[in-house]
Symmetry: C2
Subunit: 213 residues, 2 copies
DNA sequence: CCATCTTTGTGCACGCGTTCACAAAGGCAT
DNA sequence: ATGCCTTTGTGAACGCGTGCACAAAGATGG
């Protein structure tokens, strides 16, 4: 029976082995003292706890540059996600195949969500349409949203939103870049715990929506 | 003179006003007691500290579905980023215009980086090519990398990497989704501080690279 | 069956970030 | 000029996650 110790896993993941063991203990994971964790059993347990054993239907709304790229991305299926539908407001796109699947019109959004039991929606529309699309998704039964539009969505309690803002990613890199360049000249300036490393999210989270676009 | 109080900003950003004030104090930001912060001055100070007043040339390597979408994205320019070049290994793509800019071949990668003084690179190649591309970028002088390929890049000290893994974003949503569904049946199960909200990144950070794809 | 060795599971302490709370500062009206 | 009101800037307390350290558990070999 192939096993791994918390020490090995921790080294591979670059974390503390005690933290790893403590985390596993929350899952009720059973290791064997003196031996370690049964790899197969562990993978299964984590997969189940993370929801990877289920098949999650998702819809992508806004099939433009980004939406089409997402639709073509094969990396979702391998993690248990199935693109159930592609939805766009442009009548010219309706019926047009993208990634081997016909684009459907927003008129049918509610029906699509319900028929497929979709609870996760991806928004890749322009910023101006995002809040409205979000509200329709939520009203139709979606309770988790991945938002690519540069807008802060407001949603009722019980709905999760994660925002992917690529500009902010670049900004964070630029920030550190500037620091690297500057520290030669101005030794120790200000800014102690500002903008740490890469913990990415909070309910809203890190980067306050204070800056203009 | 238009001003904002820390209280107003905090409410808008959904954070604690004291934290916001303390953060501003690190920037040496000067507010006026009894009044608040001068909006214009504040925006300028934060922009400068964040490096938004500079023009950052970036290159995108791997002009496929995702790379092309990024190249077409207008949201970067407005934050001070300029796409200096699009680079792809496919000879058939060389010279072909994407987003009004000719795609250049990877053969010229080093020269492009140096000529344009690029310090930030975006990797949108298949996972298999990412590490190799990364090494060439770093060797040519790039010190910050935004990685979209589902691979953990290893880089020398002094080089920053941020990874955007869309599958993990969906997984986190699915995880909470499962929790929502499950808490009706099994009241309070396990898992206390597992998978928090949306702090997204650490040097490597949140999600240990333990799970198989 | 006992001794020994390895590795888990976890109580506890440390450290850090967040939040509270308030004195000081500045504006503004009288 | 004086007093009042608002809001900043920050010292200090709190809370939480992380890491340490160890007792208990189980395997393994004699
Ligand atoms: N392209 C990128 O790399 C990138 C990067 C970061 C963020 N974004 C953001 O992602 C979003 C999409 O970007 P894009 O480049 O794909 O834009 P795009 O203009 O190419 O595509 C937008 C699509 O949304 C559709 N649409 C508009 N209103 C809609 C509605 N109400 N309902 C349904 N569909 C609607 C349009 O018909 C279009 O097909 C934008 O908000 C953009 O800021 C894009
Ligand atoms: N498309 C998405 O929405 C999406 C989402 C998440 C992650 N990703 C990841 O982003 C990467 C790109 O995805 P895609 O859908 O654009 O793939 P793609 O196959 O459409 O594009 C990849 C491009 O990279 C080029 N390329 C290959 N090897 C190269 C090299 N050594 N140097 C330079 N260019 C090279 C190819 O010629 C191609 O144009 C993949 O790693 C994918 O897993 C994509």
């Amino acid at each position: 029976m192939p096993t791994v110790s918390s020490e090995e896993l921790a080294a591979a993941a670059g974390v503390n082995s005690a933290k790893l063991r403590k985390d596993f203990s929350y899952l009720g994971s059973y290791g064997t003292r003196g031996v370690g964790y049964d790899v197969e059993y562990l993978v299964y347990q984590i997969s189940r706890e993370l929801g990877l054993t289920q098949d999650w239907p998702v819809v992508i709304v806004g099939i433009g540059n980004l939406g089409a790229a997402l639709a073509n991305y094969g990396g979702f299926a391998s993690r248990g996600f199935r693109v159930a539908a592609l939805i766009d407001a442009d009548p010219a796109m309706a019926g047009k195949p993208v990634a081997g699947m016909p684009v459907q019109h927003t008129d049918d959004l509610e029906k699509i969500i319900e028929d497929n039991g979709v609870s996760i929606g991806v928004i890749a529309t322009p910023a101006g349409a995002a809040q409205q699309v979000c509200e329709r998704l939520v009203a139709a039964g979606v309770t988790s949203i991945l938002n690519f539009a540069p807008t802060v969505l407001s949603v009722p309690d019980g709905v999760d939103v994660r925002k992917v803002d690529l500009s902010i990613e670049l900004q964070i890199l630029a920030f550190h870049e500037q620091r690297k360049a500057g520290e030669d000249l101005a030794a120790d300036d200000v800014v102690p715990p500002v903008a740490a490393k890469q913990p990415r999210k909070g309910p809203d989270g890190d980067v306050p929506a204070v800056m203009p676009a």
